[in-house]
Symmetry: C2
Subunit: 206 residues, 2 copies
Amino acid sequence: MAKHYEQYCPVAHALELVGERWSLLIVRELLKGPRRYTDLAEALPRIGTNVLAARLKDLEGCGIVAKRRLPPPTPAQVYELTPYGVALKPVMRELARWGLRSLPAPGDDEALAPGWLRGALDTFFAPVAPDGSFQFRVGDEEAALVDGEAAAGSVDDPDVIVEATPAAFYYLFVERRWDGVEVEGDRELLERLLEAAAPADDAVLA
Amino acid sequence: MAKHYEQYCPVAHALELVGERWSLLIVRELLKGPRRYTDLAEALPRIGTNVLAARLKDLEGCGIVAKRRLPPPTPAQVYELTPYGVALKPVMRELARWGLRSLPAPGDDEALAPGWLRGALDTFFAPVAPDGSFQFRVGDEEAALVDGEAAAGSVDDPDVIVEATPAAFYYLFVERRWDGVEVEGDRELLERLLEAAAPADDAVLA
DNA sequence: CCGCATCCCCAAAGATACTG
DNA sequence: CAGTATCTTTGGGGATGCGG
């Protein structure tokens, strides 16, 4: 935001850095790992190449993103988050938790971005996960949660295996409904995970 | 945001609701309590009356803000947050925590908004405060923290009294430096509070 | 191809004036 | 007091171009 809010306030200051349109979505993408310019353009439909370039320059300028040139074999350059950028993770988490409350369940034909399941586990479960290993198979995605760490793919001998459609997974997480969810193994452990990650119930008006 | 991001993602969805310029600052103001139109315009320098009106309409439209007409004696109307709006508090908190890391200390002549101290206590300390009562006097503001609740003004017989300039208060909180801070009472309790509320140290790059 | 810079156009923000 | 109306300016969306 070239224009400043002109207030001494940490929130206003934060929004001056990442409050512009697309900024936080770029951060969201980069939280998944380093990405090339074209990867970002592809993951952010309708962003427009000039805006993407401008945002990356801004984010780089204020130390949230760094540009790195990959070693010779593949002479590509990638963008990645600095530690300051990674520190936005709690912001993204709370934004996602809040946004989820009014996000409808995914349609059965909804196009989910590749890697979404790992991202969801990382955002919602990883910070509060009890010890144990969870294997999730949702739609055509597969990801695992092992001792508070989300990972793509599958893990050996998990404590519990969860299988569901995206919609069923949504209902399980958001409304604690088990219809269409297949559980194998330690169901009670899964219940504890869901409990810990529960989307905040309505905050009472102060 | 009239324009949609067209992604099935809770963060994108959240940003469609509150991602526009000024939206979150309006929420920040309303987190302090119900406000009249003019109060908001005054608290948000340079917002421009048309933009304020538009944002309020948007926020009302998606259930974050409600307009209420005050009972006859004073026929004013006020805006206030719905429970869904209040649920943005954690988002604001994380944004503020993150923003604070690159916000410089306030200058001695910095104009702070009235009530800022109570807001700071509420945002940073209230959610993690240990039991006990704290009295803060910073600059010309006075606020207290009693059993995890922030309140303006002063409290009887607090466990600890903290007195400082805004800059000294900043350094105390952000850098754990005690220069220029006067403490009376249970200093160890204050240290525990600061510990609990500590601005996240650098998240390690994943 | 990948990584942008440029150009054009329209939508949204800023500023100011004015009204129920 | 609580906005609407109007005008100007800025910034985003979309297409295209162009050097490495």
